[in-house]
Symmetry: C2
Subunit: 369 residues, 2 copies
Amino acid sequence: MTNEIIVKLPEENYPIVIGEGVRQRFSELFKKHGQGRAFWLSDKNIVAAWDENLGGLCSNSHTDIIVMPPGEEQKQIATIERVCQILVTMGAERGDTLVACGGGVVGDIGGFAASVYLRGIPCVQIPTTLLAMVDSSIGGKTGVDLPEGKNLIGSFHQPAFVLIDVEFLKTLNGRQFRSGFAEVVKTALIGDASLYRSIEQGADDRCFQRDAATLIETITACVKFKADIVAQDEKEAGLRRNLNFGHTIGHALEALGNYAALSHGEAVFWGMTVAVDLSVQHGSLNHEIGQTIHQLLERYLKVIPAIHFRPKEVMDLILNDKKTKAGKPHFVLLEDIGKPIVTDQISNVILSNALEHLKHRMKRIKESS
Amino acid sequence: MTNEIIVKLPEENYPIVIGEGVRQRFSELFKKHGQGRAFWLSDKNIVAAWDENLGGLCSNSHTDIIVMPPGEEQKQIATIERVCQILVTMGAERGDTLVACGGGVVGDIGGFAASVYLRGIPCVQIPTTLLAMVDSSIGGKTGVDLPEGKNLIGSFHQPAFVLIDVEFLKTLNGRQFRSGFAEVVKTALIGDASLYRSIEQGADDRCFQRDAATLIETITACVKFKADIVAQDEKEAGLRRNLNFGHTIGHALEALGNYAALSHGEAVFWGMTVAVDLSVQHGSLNHEIGQTIHQLLERYLKVIPAIHFRPKEVMDLILNDKKTKAGKPHFVLLEDIGKPIVTDQISNVILSNALEHLKHRMKRIKESS
């Protein structure tokens, strides 16, 4: 089974192809949607786990791969400069294409470098982690970090196409996979009640066991949802904000753990429990539905790390978030499974209480597991 | 007299306002075309020549100015990072605007930083040099250099508006002014025969004397011409290539002089003499017209520096230019004053001869002046 989803944008459409072993179709897709020659960017882990042809991906492209070191700390503007310098050395010209094959960092660096090299060349995204497949490779957001915060420099650069081969997921460890699954659960909660039901009924277990058919189905649902939002709101003017469900608190927790104690997905899992609490407190979500969501989230929370934090620290970070408009934080809450709302009507007292509640929840879950 | 030219782009239109003392209209224009708060970028020379309010420009904006060191060597990605870091510290948010007030470097850094800060905020261009007024501030091209070459990293980022106050030209020295005038002569040659006639009849002298009315008229002609090309070819697919008249050789000479012996405009002046020679050699331009153009160019060539070079070095640089497609350099030539053509049919022999000719011309002009 191979699925194809078309992202429809004002300037042009591009396909996202999802399947098992679909990396074999790279040449065919590149001929149709690519431009010029393909120049490759990947990281040492991918090359080590697969081979120098990235599992047969680039055997026909006759150009070398730029292999960067792995890790979040590569997400800095100096890496962009280095990639561009290597592209010059390799002779990449206007109208050639940069193909980014890897996780979120490779995708971000590849997309951003492509958007500024010679004032912009096309790029192709080939995500190899679950997080990148369901989230970061879709939508054209690219970025690097500053000491002052994450993703403060970047661009919107839509790929020529996205190729999602679920076979790449075989080399992820449990923690990496689970971390990506946070975005799957988020998608279900804010936009796809039937995906939520299928997870409740065990699709998550089959995904964790790397069952190809379930993975393709689950990833396709997430991609479809995100592609649809991106098509309606390419530059994040409004609707795209729903995707931040669980992320306002999640980003703050991730930062408090110095981006080491908690992975992005783990922080988002904790962030989603707070968002559910706030939704019930705010009166938008029925208490019972809140409880069933908490039950599902606990499946994952039991096995992810907790961190120590003071609610005040989290609040300070939220009020300094770059997405904060005029000092008022916006929160994405739920009215029902699959129905998000955005509000700035959360008082500091309610937020502070919800963060105290999170501390207790972390403690309880960690003591019982 | 104040002129206003509208740049018409598919996504949106923006005005370029040209006049004497028009910086006083900044607040009014910002209210209409700007967004959020204005954050300022300028350089030490501008602040020294004017004042900390940039001649009254930013007295109402209540934010500090980012003052960068002057000079081409600032055109590097590290400067972009630093500007973005300061913007974070100042609290610049999505929907705020970066106003770049300065020469080409400030405009490039400001435009590029705005295009990537928080994945893109609006910018305003307030050029203070003749080169920036007639060329670099118009068209949305931004960029920084790599050790491997100039402008290899950048973006297309159209400003919200451009404000051209000819009073800023009072602080330019003769060499800086003349350098910018190369782009005026280029505009006349490739697109505006009546501008050419007015220069022939002495508009250049009045410009050099900073006569406001002549400056406004001359700059307006150049801006109109470039805005029209940009509107038709925003991303430099074809038509915009005409603007490279004199630049293929010019860039190479500039590089050979390590960007110190010759300024950009001086290199373009020499480059234009070669382009005229090639046009005659190629058979597209009548020999007599070629001679009258050479006569006009000599007015400036007499007072600008010459450099030592070997034709082979220049040829090597041209063949490695980023604009070279598949190893074949394109040249913009003339069929008549105001009528450019683009060709890749210039043999290496003809090019080499033209460069030998340039050596002799430099020698003769320098000996006679």
